[in-house]
């Protein structure tokens, strides 16, 4: 058997390590949203958008290819999100089209020729990849935005299995402006510059009068807001001349009247496209569309190369946020909120105060009871209990685990339950003392007999806690983790540390006749 002093050396080293890890607790222990205030969001990426975008891109490519090769095709249109229908061609054109499709660049597409119609369909694995990438890209974009905004220790991760889940979990602790940050994340910031064909008019009907009330295939209606605040509608070309993807940079600037606006610069590829479009459509209007709403629709007076300005009804702050969003990239697809929890900082502060108060009161009650009931041995149990709390704190800090309000409840519960191990041991010791054994023999026997019981009893709570951890979310995970750590720690403190203290007493006094228990 190891000497008592080695045991104590081990205990002191272990406790010292945990103290060093956990001190000062205010800095070392990560607080959960419920204690710090902040935002918890679960977003669903509408990956259909991304698939649709790929299909639209393909249509654009087909049209330009047919045009280049002089293939006469009346209609190339999208069906649903991932199918393209090519219609209105003669038999000569059919062979040409098929030749184009076989040529390459279409490896992600299956095509099917039927009477007067060719249907292209996106391949399954390509679709899965697109959806997966859309979620990944959305995650990165959100991370960019959050980082630029400056949130400490954000959690941004996909929920569930990569490649399948369309959900992203975002947790932003300590945010003081929840509404603003939420807007920042949520907005897709899809910037599109499209050529205006008709409009603006105050109503859709009027806008489409020329077209017998029907929107032509390659065009779409986009709403806008007039300076006076009323609705107006534009008929624009479906295919964007330039999109947010072509942006290199975006900054807050001023329009010609000195009002806040967002100026942007384009990448080389984008600049080329922009130059071509502005050259071809000089004198027409160009709609600057952000997230499906026309911000402004200036007339193209001259060929524009690589920079432009977005005017709208901005304040300095909203212009700043828009620039930030455009800089960090647009979301590849729109986003829906599935879950949104905002905890104000004041509620968090209140919760932590109350939680700590409950903890100290609970602790004092237990300490008082143990000392009252078991006298000096109770002090032993109290030492074990306090060390237990130190270990929980240290372990939380070490694993970067989050302390939540249910987590504090877990610690409080552990305080009540961890003395259980001591109680089991002490009761056994008392029984043996009653049988007339010497204190030393009774202590030895008590620890030995009680250990297996303690182990069996605690392991089951750990099992429950593990399942809680597995299935639980945020705060519940915090509860499970403190419970697990607390129980494991209590096995160490109540069994090893308490015993060492008893042995120390026996070692210091040569003859121990009675035990204060």
């Amino acid at each position: 058997m190891k000497s008592v002093y080695t045991k104590f050396a081990i205990i002191i080293v272990i406790i010292a390590i945990f103290v060093i890890i956990a001190v000062p607790p205010k800095e070392k222990i990560k607080l959960g949203l419920d204690l710090k205030g902040g935002i918890h969001l679960v977003l669903k990426v509408q990956t259909d958008d991304a698939v649709r975008a790929v299909t639209d891109q393909m249509i654009l490519q087909l049209r330009s290819e047919f045009k280049d090769k002089n293939i006469k095709v009346e209609k190339v249109r999208r069906i649903g999100v991932k199918e393209i229908s090519i219609e209105g061609y003669d038999s000569v054109a059919e062979d040409q089209i098929i030749a184009v499709l076989k040529e390459g660049g279409f490896q992600n597409w299956n095509y099917n020729v039927s009477a007067g119609k060719i249907i292209l369909k996106l391949k399954q694995n390509a679709e899965v990849k697109i959806r997966d990438q859309a979620v990944e890209q959305a995650k990165e974009t959100i991370r960019n935005r959050v980082d630029q905004f400056g949130v400490a220790e954000p959690v941004i991760q996909r929920e569930g299995l990569t490649g399948q889940s369309e959900r992203i979990l975002v947790e932003l602790p300590g945010v003081e402006d929840p509404a603003r940050v939420k807007n920042l994340i949520k907005s897709t910031a899809v910037l599109e510059l499209k050529i205006v064909v008709n409009g603006p008019y105050a109503s859709k009907e009027k806008l489409l009068e020329k077209y017998n009330g029907k929107v032509p295939d390659d065009m779409e209606v986009v709403p806008g807001v007039t300076k006076e605040g009323s609705r107006e509608y534009f008929l624009v070309k479906k295919v964007a001349a330039v999109t947010g993807m072509d942006l290199r940079d975006a900054r807050v600037g001023q329009d010609k009247y000195g009002a806040p606006a967002v100026s942007f610069r384009l990448k080389r590829e984008g600049a080329k496209k922009f130059e071509k479009v502005t050259r071809e459509h000089r004198g027409e209007r160009l709609a600057i569309i952000l997230d499906g709403i026309v911000q402004s629709a200036p007339v193209i007076n001259e060929v524009i190369y690589d920079s432009g300005i977005i005017e709208g009804h901005f304040t300095y702050e909203s212009a700043n946020d828009l620039a930030l969003k455009l800089r960090s990239g647009s979301l590849p697809a729109s986003i829906r909120y599935l879950e949104e929890r905002t905890i104000g900082p004041s509620l968090g502060a209140d919760s932590i105060n109350k939680g700590l108060k409950a903890m100290f009161i609970g602790l004092l009650l237990v300490i008082f009871f143990m000392v009252f009931y078991y006298k000096l041995s109770g002090v032993n149990a109290v030492i074990a209990l306090l060390l237990n709390i130190v270990i929980i704190m240290g372990a939380l800090a070490y694993f970067r685990a989050t302390l939540t309000l249910p987590g504090i409840a877990g610690i409080i519960l552990t305080i009540g339950m961890s003395v259980d191990a001591n109680v089991l041991i002490f009761e056994r010791i008392r029984e043996d003392l009653k049988l007339g054994k010497t204190p030393k023999a009774a202590v030895d026997e008590g620890f030995k007999k009680a250990f297996i019981t303690i182990f069996d009893a605690n392991i089951t709570t750990v099992i429950a806690a593990i399942f809680l951890f597995q299935f639980g979310t945020g705060p519940i995970k915090g509860f499970a983790i403190t419970l697990i750590i607390g129980i494991l720690a209590s096995m160490f403190t109540a069994v090893y540390v308490s015993r060492a203290i008893f042995e120390l007493i026996f070692a210091l006094k040569k003859r121990v006749e009675t035990l204060s228990i």
Binding site: L347, G355, T453
Partner: protein, 443 residues
């Protein structure tokens, strides 16, 4: 100090009374759930919008409801929290369209609607005049205003932080301008006072859960509970006899049912934290049960030929009684502290734990041990009956043939039945225990 000096209570004598008690509580719980048309689920599981608000002044639930009626939210569940001016409002629309659907489209909408509804006419007028409500505004808005006043970015940030910190300490509410007078230089303070006002409410928490997430969380919680139970059954069956495992799981089921009954009696909502509470109870109650089982296992060896199963159980329970009471006591003390001082958010969790600890302590004696008692006694009785029958048969056969028949043709006892068998006469009990023990050994 000791609570009990050598306790010797005859626990098992009252087991049927205990069964009746449990039966009554659980049946009443079932009726309560039926009458109330199921449990009320929190937004975690049902989806919906929950807003927690702190009022500057004392407000009654009726007044809040009246205001909400104006925006079609009159059916909302409004709860006043504790002594202060805090309320939670679970938004419920009067009209038919599901609030979640509408809500997830425009997350801010319902929360904003509630805030607007709770504003007084006077406040609305002040807002129209372009004044800023310091109580409901986030820090960046306050900073913006201070930037306009001071024209100095760093100073605006400094003052805004001071105000935000003050709000943090006072649940988001500044009651009068005097409270923040000393936080700012006089001129800034005067200008701020001119351009802002102190609104009636502060928004403490907004939670919106979509129906899909609610469904997922429901599934996850059920999974967690089921797997935890299976895990424990396996562990106990592994560590003890299978019968002990079954009894333990029956006990846990009892505790879960009792807790759920009380949740229904007191109209508590089932939320994620409540599920966590229930699972903790499962662990805790099992903890208790195992300690007693452990003793039973020891004592079965110790008293194998001396005592009947019920006596062994009684001895075991009495021997561990001090421990049971003390551990339940300390845990109860801490949970009580949590219930009283832990604040509203955690109170329902503490309530669940209170019920569960009491139920778990009681059940580890009166459920887990009682099952074993009944089962073992049945086995004893069966064995005895078989033996008498065998003896008779042997005698008859002896008469007809003069051939010996082996004693060991006793088929194993039938599947367990919950209904108690007729009480055996006390005198015959001890004898039969010995027999059954012998047989067990032989097997």
């Amino acid at each position: 100090m000791e609570f009990f000096k050598n306790p010797n209570f005859k626990f098992m004598k009252f087991k049927y009374i205990a069964f009746i008690l449990s039966f009554v509580v659980i049946t009443a719980g079932g009726i309560s759930v039926y009458v109330k048309k199921g449990f009320s689920l929190s937004i975690d599981f049902a989806g919906g919008t929950l807003v927690q608000i702190n009022f500057k002044n004392d407000v009654s639930v009726d007044k809040v409801r009246k205001s909400l009626k104006n925006v079609d939210l009159g059916k909302s569940i409004i709860q006043k929290l504790g002594e202060g001016h805090e309320f939670t409002i679970k938004a419920q629309k009067v009209s038919s369209k599901s609030i979640e659907e509408e809500n997830m489209e425009k997350p801010e909408e319902v929360a904003n609607k509630i805030v607007d509804a709770l504003r007084t006419e006077e406040e609305k007028q002040l807002l129209k005049e372009g004044k800023l409500d310091l109580n409901i505004s986030e820090k960046s808005f306050i900073k913006n205003l201070l930037l306009q006043i001071t024209g100095d970015e760093a100073k605006a940030e400094e003052y805004a932080t001071k105000i935000a910190d003050y709000k943090k300490k006072h649940l988001g509410i500044i009651k009068s301008f005097d409270e923040i007078k000393n936080l700012l230089p006089k001129d800034v303070f005067e200008k701020l006072k001119e351009k802002s006002f102190l609104g009636n409410i502060a928004l403490l928490r907004v939670e919106i859960v979509g129906p899909q997430v609610g469904k997922d969380l429901r599934y996850k919680a059920t999974q967690a509970t089921i797997w935890a139970l299976i895990g424990m059954l396996i562990y106990i069956a592994f560590r003890f006899k299978f019968l002990f495992g079954v009894s333990a799981v029956l006990t846990l089921t009892h505790d879960i049912l009792v807790t759920l009954s009380f949740i229904s009696f007191f109209n508590k909502e089932i939320s994620l934290t409540i599920v966590a509470g229930i699972l903790t109870i499962v662990g805790y109650s099992l903890n208790d049960t195992i300690v007693i089982y452990d003793r039973v296992r020891d004592n079965l060896k110790k008293y194998v030929k001396k005592l009947g199963i019920e006596e062994i159980l009684d001895v075991s329970i009495n021997e561990t009684l001090s421990r049971t009471i003390i551990t339940s006591g300390t845990t109860l003390l801490t949970v009580l502290a949590l219930y009283i001082f832990g604040g509203e958010v955690i109170r329902d969790f503490a309530f669940t734990m209170l019920v569960g600890i009491i139920s778990g302590t009681y059940s580890s004696i009166y459920q887990s041990c009682a099952y074993i008692g009944i089962w073992e006694k049945r086995k004893e009785k069966k064995a005895k009956e078989k033996k008498i029958a065998n003896l008779k048969r042997i005698e008859e056969r002896k008469k007809s043939e003069v051939k010996k028949v082996k004693e060991e043709t006793v088929p194993p006892p039938q599947k367990e039945e919950r209904k108690p068998a007729q009480k055996t006469a006390k005198s015959s009990k001890r004898k039969s225990t010995k027999k059954s023990k012998k047989k067990k050994k032989k097997r």
